[in-house]
């Protein structure tokens, strides 16, 4: 039922996007493709942080893995596009599993440090084996539009299609995953790990799984980004990218897939907009920091006006916010408002962290959620 509804929305969105794409000029198509690719990576990260309660400031590394996998597969094996994307996701997912095993033992700043290390260290691989990875200048490759679209079909439009459709598929899969038992267990874990463990959930296993899903998403994002830019370079996957992804997650709305879409849009479109704005408003090229300052201002303003991110703000404006005091997530010892629970307290069933199992227990969904959680308990408990 849920799957059908999510799929229905996605198909509708796909139709709209495809129709709109053909009206765009090629640079906008290119940007749309970038946005879609970025949304996938941000969505993966928001699941990891907002839902499973772990942190990663090294997600650019998984995009690096996805991107380079794609470049190498296209250049050397010339696999079909869909297969390349899936393979890139798998490679990144395996890397995520390895990272996840380490992550399962680490908490808070230690986990952040470990993932940070990954983001700093991995691009060096490209320099170490220059013959394979092309060093500083990376790898250039080409993809072509499929024959049935005709010879004059714009490559950028095809890239935008591929990226948008992939993004919608990933979002539908994630949305369903989050509403499955695994998703609910992740939330239980996030809200109170001890309680979750007492309830019989296999904490380490769940944490690793979250890392795998999240890394695979980043891998798909990196893969599509590479296909859009037609090159991969270490410079595309710096630590700055990892931080930007984190920023996009918080900015869009922590833990919200819809927020990931906002985050992706901001990450891709705001910096060039500010650059052009600065250029056309009399700032000389010497003041190259204007866009950076502008981006910082956007960040500050959004966090002040919408503490629960843009999606939280939109929900509040539309009156859709769920009235509950729950829905915060603790990262770095700070409590962050979750995107879909931005309004003040009404029923006050209790702070999620104090609740035995999950923020789902808050509000008027208590019964269903607890039932689900108990389902999880018996399942895991009998092992």
């Amino acid at each position: 039922m849920t799957l059908a509804k999510h799929a229905g929305i996605a198909i509708l969105a796909a139709v709209v996007l495809l129709a709109v794409t053909s009206k765009l000029d090629s640079f906008r198509q290119y940007q749309l493709a970038q946005v879609a690719a970025t949304v996938i990576a941000v969505a993966g990260l928001t699941v990891l942080i907002g839902i499973s309660g772990q942190i990663s400031i090294g997600h650019g590394a998984f995009m690096f893995i996805g991107g380079y996998s794609t470049a190498l597969l296209v250049m050397h094996l010339n696999w079909p596009l869909a297969l390349v994307i899936v393979a890139s996701a798998i490679v990144a997912g395996v890397a995520g599993a390895i990272m996840g095993v380490a992550a399962a033992r680490l908490r808070g700043p230690y986990l952040a440090g470990a993932t940070l290390m990954l983001a700093v260290a991995l691009p060096a691989v490209a320099f170490q084996w220059q013959g394979v990875f092309g060093g500083d200048q990376g790898l250039n490759f080409t993809v072509s539009t499929p024959g049935f679209l005709g010879a004059n079909f714009q490559l950028t439009e095809w890239q935008a299609w591929v990226c948008c459709v992939s993004a919608l598929i990933v979002l539908v899969l994630l949305a369903n995953l989050l509403r499955s038992r695994v998703g609910r267990n992740w939330q239980a874990l996030r809200d109170n790990e001890t309680a979750a463990a007492l309830a019989g959930l296999n904490v380490a296993n769940l944490r690793v799984r979250a890392f795998i899903v999240s890394a695979a998403c980043a891998g798909v994002g990196g893969s599509l980004l590479a296909m859009t830019m037609l090159n991969v370079t270490p410079g595309a996957f710096t630590l700055a990218l990892s931080i930007q992804l984190l920023t996009a997650v918080v900015l869009g709305g922590l833990g919200s897939l819809a927020g990931a879409i906002w985050g992706g849009i901001i990450l891709v479109l705001v910096p060039p907009f500010l650059t052009n704005f600065a250029g056309s408003h009399g700032f000389s090229a010497g003041s190259a920091s204007v866009p950076i300052v502008g981006y910082g201002l956007v960040l500050i303003v959004v966090m002040l006006v919408f503490p629960a991110g843009i999606q939280g703000g939109v929900r509040r404006l539309l009156g859709l916010a769920r009235p509950t005091s729950a829905g915060q997530v603790s990262v770095f010892g700070r409590r962050w408002q979750l995107a879909w629970k931005s309004a003040g307290s009404r029923s006050g069933v209790g702070d999620a962290a104090d609740n035995a199992v999950g923020s789902e227990a808050a509000g008027n969904h208590t019964a269903a959620s607890e039932a689900a959680a108990q389902d999880g308990l018996t399942e895991e408990g009998t092992r």
Binding site: A13, V20, D25
Partner: protein, 440 residues
């Protein structure tokens, strides 16, 4: 019903709305009047728009961020004196931070959205390598890449791309032949950037310097997370090798760090540097900044560096330097009059040469054909190599030494080619003086 993870309509609708909005403000149109027509993308009756990618911030910015403003100053001078057949040059350069992934997006913006007539002087070897395939696929002229990589001379795969400055193989050969003649029997080491820039340079050097004299080769990674630590280790290795002469193919920031590391180690070899990293004012400024010193500290650390130059010496007083000093003082008085400004104006001059030759109502192909037909020697000390089968630019340079912060010539102009067997020979043809109008 749980709203928490549903794909809301709102952001999707917003995405679609953004997409439609940007669709509305696409496509340009241009009108024609009189004999001057909108003959190509980026060319209107009144303007010619050209684009570039430049490191205005980031590791490569010190010094190089002056190049595009200097080119622009020259274009403004041309615009103020009648323009190119009456058209004004509009120069749009975007900051790529010397990061290939940003270059990739910037170039797409310039070509697909801003519809520039040509890409001019895109800066950087790794950065421009990432975009040359795209620029050529779009059949956009890619003139005078700001990099001496020999790779720009690829007329069959990249027919739109042209180099300009002395390429690193030629430069390596010219430096190498000087070293072979003047440092016989000395121990020599190479310090170079671990990419096409450094590798081409080492290739040229190795063709002239006997391998038995080379005691160490230390490449650095320009994207190193901690440049000081990276260079510190390499400098120690250079000292340990006992090299008496260190030849460098490095960008200014890494040159400066190397000099400071040497100072810390008490190691004082003779430095022979590629012109890329030897602009005295840039280097002295960086040394002062990095070491938090002022005054003559920087200048004293670069005294005696041996280098080469393919443009007139700033210390001299020839007609070119007079012309560029005048333009500098009028349009960009706040920037130092250094090698980077000289470079930017010189390459701008060459571009105007090509534009004029391309004709009154040029197409993109006309511009490419113009350079393929060869350009007369102008601002450079040696002739250009341009022909339909050769997209290399300047073919030679003179050796020089840094004395009191100024590049001072050590001999006549040397020219060579990029082959292993091609000799390095003196070129005694006189460089033509600058036109009195300042316009080719």
């Amino acid at each position: 019903m749980n709203r928490s993870h549903r794909l809301g309509f709102a952001p999707l609708a917003a995405l679609a709305a953004v997409a439609m909005l940007v669709a509305a403000c696409g496509s340009n149109s241009s009108s024609s009047s009189g004999a001057l027509q909108a003959s190509a993308p980026g060319v209107t009756a009144k303007t010619i728009t050209v684009g570039s990618t430049q490191p205005l911030t980031g590791i490569a910015a010190p010094g190089y961020d002056e190049i595009a403003p200097a080119s622009n100053a020259y274009f403004q001078y041309v615009n103020a004196h009648g323009g190119v057949y009456g058209r004004k040059i509009v120069y749009k350069y975007l900051n790529d931070q010397y990061n290939s992934s940003i270059t990739t997006t910037d170039v797409r913006q310039l070509i697909l959205q801003d519809h520039v007539f040509a890409i001019f002087n895109g800066l950087g070897t790794p950065t421009h390598l990432a975009v040359a395939p795209f620029i050529n696929a779009e059949k956009v002229p890619d003139l005078f890449v700001a990099s001496g990589c020999a790779c720009w001379n690829a007329t069959s795969s990249w027919p739109q791309t042209f180099g300009w400055q002395l390429n690193y193989i030629r430069e390596g050969k010219i430096l190498g032949s000087y070293i072979a003649a003047n440092f016989k029997g000395k121990k020599i080491a190479f310090f170079y950037q671990d990419d096409e820039f450094g590798l081409d340079g080492v290739k040229g050097l190795s063709e002239e310097i006997p391998a038995s004299q080379v005691v160490a080769k230390e490449p650095y990674n320009v994207a190193a997370a901690n440049p000081a630590a990276e260079v510190g280790t390499l400098a120690a290795a250079l000292k340990a090798s006992g090299a008496q002469v260190v030849v460098t193919f490095a960008v200014p920031a890494f040159m400066a760090i190397l000099r400071l590391s040497d100072l810390g180690l008490g190691y004082n070899p003779t430095i022979v540097s590629s012109s890329v990293g030897s602009d005295p004012q840039t280097l002295a400024g960086l040394l002062n900044t990095f070491a938090k010193k002022s005054g003559s500290f920087g200048t004293s650390l670069i005294q005696g560096i041996i280098t080469d130059s393919y443009l007139p010496s700033l210390g001299g007083n020839d007609s070119w330097i007079q012309l560029f000093t005048k333009i500098h003082n009028q349009y960009i008085p706040k920037l130092p009059l250094d090698g980077n400004v000289l470079y930017g104006m010189s390459v701008g001059y060459t571009f105007v040469q090509a534009l004029l030759k391309a004709g009154r109502n040029p197409t993109r192909q006309d511009l490419v054909n113009a350079v393929n037909g060869g350009l007369p020697q102008g601002v450079s000390v040696a002739p250009y190599a341009y022909s339909s089968g050769d997209h290399d630019g300047i073919t030679g340079a003179f050796m020089a030494e840094i004395k009191n912060g100024v590049i001072s010539p050590l001999g006549p102009v040397q020219v060579t080619d990029t082959t292993a067997t091609g000799a390095v020979t003196a070129d005694n043809t006189a460089q033509p003086p600058a036109p009195t109008s300042g316009i080719p």
